[in-house]
């Protein structure tokens, strides 16, 4: 029996677990992979949004970030995450070997992923958290009043079923990356989004779902070495690529070139200082080249774009209050599973703001869930399971191939032609294709054990693609990461968030500020 159940194993899950345990709760974490190596933080290197507690400095940083948010940000949330990050990130020191800041102190705000997630795992264990690795959740369970009181899933090792009951549940399952090959994102299939919507929650900002990272075509890596790259076609002619700072234009230029043929990167212009220290900063990036016998700074190499979906986008489960509640009794969301529009608006939070968000929303949700759980515990209350697609088919069981569904949904979100030149017409066509795929898996999908986990992941990928496509179709303007070539202007009348949800029938609607106050 647990007070707080956390689903997920990345940085938001870890910070939620630590905060809930510090608040006196008995905490269980269930992760699809392993807390410490799962997710995009473990292979990455998050810098955290980091501003000292000086009112002038914080005010300027928040004003800059709020301008980037393109009308959808919330400065009060920005102030909270700056403060929580400043206060709590240094507390990992007993578990993390902070390096020098070059001035006699410690460099705190940027941390290397494998060491950071190892530290957070050790921190959580030191706080008494129970961690169940390789325990993917399949669905939430609720009591007769609809209050979420736990989850059910499969233990991958022996394919046994598990159920955990808890006074409160936190979804920290990460963003949806649509199996793009992005390193660390294989398990980020948007499972939490699907579980939340099945429980009655709503999503927000799913149209802000387009971002990519450039990598060698054989493996997704960190992008540090490539930001100054020159690009060439197969005949050795240099391509005219708008630089990274132009955002969508940069990716459009790369995407157009990649649709025309292979694209090669040349790092001859990379900062000279990088040659000596890349190995000491990102050993894994060096390995991707060294192990192929490629000199990264001398040899040209083929590149492609790896989709980052809602991970570097901002959409996710909508939060209805300042404690990360989802609107469903007993259910909280944190990190990339939740909408980050509050702190990043329509633009990518990048690594820094999203990392500060993951830490802060994790801690907020963890503390709030602990407080709620300590006051009400489900005990042996009768429970019913909330999952549908891939668990309880509405018609006869038939063969459904998860790989084919995932590939189509991934293409709908990330294929260059669809994603870089979005139009209402293309999105409408995609919506119909994805609806048919959803109907098939909901009607006929069923499996057992690890196969069920994969089929359920496919259902989540298709569901998330449907929400992304519908939200992109229904925001007929260009704002932040969402670029419509048939509506290239930003429409002041649409400076509001857009909600989405639904299973058999997907819906979207604008979030009117007046309704927000009433809720």
């Amino acid at each position: 029996m647990s007070d707080v159940l956390i689903i997920g194993g990345g940085m938001a899950a870890a910070w939620a677990a630590i905060a809930a345990a510090e608040a006196g709760a008995r905490v269980t974490v269930v992760d699809k992979g392993v807390m410490g190596t799962s997710g995009v933080t473990a292979t990455g290197g998050p810098g955290h949004w980091w501003v000292p507690p000086d009112p002038a400095l914080r005010g300027e940083a928040i004003a800059r970030q709020n301008a980037k948010a393109a009308g959808l940000g919330d400065p009060a949330w920005m102030e909270r995450i700056l403060e929580l990050t400043w206060r709590h990130l240094p507390t990992i020191a007993p578990f993390y070997p902070f390096g020098s800041d070059g001035r006699g102190g410690k460099f705190i705000n940027g941390v290397r992923g494998p060491e950071y997630m190892r530290a957070l795992r050790h921190f959580a264990l030191a706080r008494g958290v129970t961690i169940r690795d390789h325990h993917p959740a399949l669905e939430l369970i609720a009591d007769a009043d609809g209050r979420v009181i736990g989850a059910r899933g499969v233990a991958l090792r022996d394919e046994s079923e598990w159920t955990v009951r808890a006074g409160a549940v936190i979804l920290a399952t990460g963003g949806a990356a649509f199996r793009s090959g992005l390193i660390g994102a294989h398990a980020c299939t948007g499972d939490g989004h699907l579980m939340a919507v099945e429980a009655g929650a709503r999503l927000s900002g799913m149209e802000f779902s387009l971002s990519w990272s450039l990598s060698p075509e054989w493996a997704s890596t960190r992008t540090l070495p490539y930001t100054g790259a020159r690009f060439y076609d197969d005949r050795g002619h240099e391509l005219d690529i708008a630089p990274p700072r132009t955002g969508h234009r940069h990716y459009q230029a790369l995407g157009a070139a990649m649709l025309a043929g292979p694209v090669w990167a040349d790092l001859v212009d990379a900062p000279a200082e990088l040659h000596g220290v890349l190995r000491r900063i990102q050993p894994l990036t060096v390995a991707a080249f060294e192990r192929r016998g490629i000199n990264i700074f001398r040899d040209r190499f083929r590149v492609r774009l790896f989709g980052e979906g809602t991970i570097r986008g901002t959409g996710g489960v909508d939060l209805v209050d300042a404690e990360c509640r989802t609107g469903v009794s007993g259910l909280f969301a944190a990190g990339d599973a939740a909408t980050r529009e509050l702190v990043a608006g329509a633009s990518s939070g990048g690594g820094a703001v999203n990392s500060a968000w993951a830490l802060s929303s994790g801690r907020i949700a963890g503390a709030a869930a602990a407080a709620e759980a300590l006051g009400s515990h489900p005990g042996d209350t009768p429970a019913h399971a909330l999952g549908q697609a891939a668990l309880r088919p509405s018609s006869d069981v038939r063969m459904v191939d998860p790989a084919a569904l995932i590939a189509r949904a991934g293409a709908a979100v990330h294929d260059y032609d669809q994603a870089l030149w979005r139009t209402g017409e293309k999105l409408g066509h995609l919506a119909r294709t994805l609806d048919a795929d959803w109907a098939r898996i909901a009607a006929h999908g069923h499996a057992r054990g690890r196969a069920q986990v994969e089929l359920r992941s496919a259902a989540a990928v298709v569901a998330n693609a449907r929400w992304v496509v519908a939200a992109a179709r229904d925001r007929a303007e260009t704002r932040g990461l969402h670029v419509r070539v048939d509506a290239p202007e930003t429409d002041p009348a649409q400076a509001r968030r857009q909600l989405s949800g639904g299973l058999d029938r997907v819906w979207t609607r604008p979030l009117e500020p007046a309704l927000e106050v009433a809720a």
């Binding site: 992979g33 392993v34 190596t37 473990a42 290197g45 810098g47 993390y96 070997p97 390096g99 020098s100 070059g102 460099f107 940027g110 941390v111 290397r112 494998p114 060491e115 690795d133 390789h134 991958l156 090959g181 390193i183 660390g184 294989h186 398990a187 054989w218 493996a219 992008t223 540090l224 070495p225 930001t227 100054g228 790259a229 020159r230 076609d233 391509l239 005219d240 690529i241 708008a242 630089p243 990274p244 700072r245 157009a256 070139a257 212009d269 990379a270 900062p271 200082e273 990088l274 220290v277 000491r280 900063i281 990102q282 050993p283 894994l284 060096v286 390995a287 080249f289 060294e290 192990r291």
Partner: protein, 135 residues
């Protein structure tokens, strides 16, 4: 993808089995077994977990092809990232002392690309005009 498990180095500690987020390994009584190589995501984190340096991950996400172990050891590639990372070093070993340079160097690259592009789209008068159309 994970390419080699090196029998003569392995201590059968089980750390790779526990660390892999994709459940690539099974634990047999006397050794870890690469049971689901197709699930490998090429994240290298099993290599970090292996303090015996008994694993080698090939760099391609969709291929487990790699040279023979002896060649890799001779080239210094087995266990290289664990040592580069200072993964098992004490916290005061300075293994992250250059990490602060990540952001500044990344931004330098961005600036270099921006300056180069601006020079190209508004060339100095003496240079030949160039097409700015994207391919």
């Amino acid at each position: 993808m994970i390419a080699h498990w090196i029998a003569e180095r392995c201590t059968n500690c089980g750390d790779c089995v526990k660390a892999c987020p994709a459940l690539v390994f099974d634990q047999a009584p006397d050794r870890p077994v690469i049971a689901r190589v197709e699930a490998c995501q090429t994240c290298y984190l099993c290599e970090l977990a292996c303090s015996a340096d008994a694993l080698y991950v090939a760099p391609e996400m969709d291929s487990a092809q790699a040279p023979p172990v002896a060649d890799l050891i001779a080239a210094g590639l087995v266990g290289r990232i664990r040592h580069d990372s200072g993964w098992n070093d004490p916290f005061d070993a300075g293994q992250l002392d250059d990490y602060r340079l990540l952001g500044p160097l990344l931004n330098q690259g961005v600036e270099i690309a921006t300056a180069r592009y601006e020079a190209r789209v508004s060339p100095a008068p003496e240079t030949h005009p160039q097409s700015v159309a994207t391919a």
